[in-house]
């Protein structure tokens, strides 16, 4: 296990593997986003209660899924970085943060735009909405920590601790709608007795979910590559200074 992780922790090998994946991920993103949005906006039917407003869900729900998945992935990366000091782990968490923050922001904004016509309010302080806002602040705090240290290794450590502490929030977001009564509706897709969404609405939702995942992989590869090159540049400068 430790040997396998070491393989991925090698920056040169990481760059080689991701260079192969990148064009495929980029193409898949465009393809799936195109198909997904076409189905979501034109093909899928209106909802029996919400009418056309249901279409906001196709942008909102996958964004919310990604906001939590990206954070979980950052927490794992941060833990690996903290425990095994693998060179790519910290960079991968750092690279993922702004992408996750964007997904969270998108989920908050689209949710708010849906809430106004459906609930009758842009925002309420129920457990789901509040824990989602906390997630957004955790992302911002994480990025701020990276900016506030001059020494990347110190920044990585402090940021990793913040991500791990904040990871408690992820199950709270997921189960908030089950543990407490909220204005936000309970889970529709990942439920014990199967999805509560008709297949004509569920299919475009799942296509959009896959498109977002693929979008994440694409942007993530670009950002990790930039981080790795950035670090090499830093090392070169340090060597030059010593000469």
């Amino acid at each position: 296990m430790a040997i396998d992780l070491h393989k991925f922790a090698n920056p040169a090998r990481f760059l080689r593997i991701t260079a192969v994946i990148f064009p495929w991920a980029a193409a898949l993103t465009l393809l799936l986003l195109g198909i997904g949005l076409y189905f979501a906006l034109f093909v899928s039917p209106e909802d029996y209660q919400q009418g056309n407003t249901v279409r906001i869900m196709f942008v909102h729900v996958p964004a919310a899924w990604m906001s939590m998945s990206v954070y979980s992935m950052m927490a794992i990366s941060a833990a690996v970085g903290l425990i095994w000091k693998h060179p790519v782990a910290d960079l991968s968490a750092k690279a993922a943060a702004p992408i996750g923050a964007c997904f969270t922001f998108l989920a908050l904004v689209t949710g708010s735009l849906w809430g106004q016509p459906m609930w009758g309010t842009f925002w309420v302080w129920d457990a789901r909405l509040t824990s989602m806002l906390i997630l957004f602040f955790l992302y911002l705090g994480y990025m701020a920590i990276w900016e506030s240290y001059d020494d990347p290794s110190k920044a990585a450590k402090a940021a990793a601790i913040l991500v791990l502490v904040g990871a408690i929030n992820v199950p709270v977001i997921k189960f908030s709608v089950d543990w407490w009564n909220t204005l936000h509706q309970p889970a529709s897709v990942a439920t014990m007795d199967g999805p509560k969404i008709h297949s004509s609405i569920l299919t475009p939702l799942l296509i959009m979910g896959t498109a977002y995942m693929s979008l994440f992989v694409t942007v993530f590869i670009i950002r990790v590559k930039a981080e790795i090159l950035n670090r090499r540049l830093r090392m070169m400068r340090l060597v030059q200074l010593e000469d």
Binding site: Y48, Q49, N181, Q185, K196
Partner: protein
């Protein structure tokens, strides 16, 4: 024990303690974390008249009476029912048999005077034709069964 092993144990133990602490905090704040109280909660906890809180449940079938800007309806959780009076515009999703959350206070007569009414959506999404055929086939599940 290697340093890596020690760091691993430290992180795992730290997460376990944090998780436990978070659980305890969330459990002790349970009352303030709920967004609304059901009509049954009202009977159980006997909230005094004049105190602001949120009442949530289903709009009882056949209970909505609109009179100008005033709307009268009953909120039910299929066990207890509370009459509500609201002056103002109700949201699009406000319908009989659908979820609703009203903000306001009880008066001396036990009528809930709402200052704001929010509609609550449930987890079901389907096209209108499917909803129709479900109703025709008698497979329509009445809402609020879980509560």
């Amino acid at each position: 024990m290697t340093r890596k092993r020690r760091r691993l144990y430290f992180v795992v133990a730290g997460m376990a303690v944090l998780g436990l602490a978070a659980t305890l905090v969330l459990m002790s704040f349970e009352d303030s974390l709920v967004f609304f109280h059901s009509p049954s909660d009202l009977v159980e906890k006997s909230i005094p008249a004049g105190r602001n809180f949120r009442l949530g449940g289903l709009v009882e079938e056949g209970s909505v009476i609109k009179d100008g800007v005033e709307v009268r309806f009953s909120v039910t959780d299929l066990a207890e029912t509370v009459p509500v009076v609201f002056r103002g515009l109700v949201p699009d999703l406000f319908r009989e048999g659908q979820g609703v959350v009203a903000e306001g206070q009880l008066n001396e007569q036990g009528v809930f005077i709402a200052s704001n009414v929010l509609a609550k959506h449930d987890e079901n999404y389907m096209p209108p034709e499917v909803a129709e055929s479900l109703k025709k086939a008698g497979k329509w599940q009445p809402k609020g069964e879980k509560q």
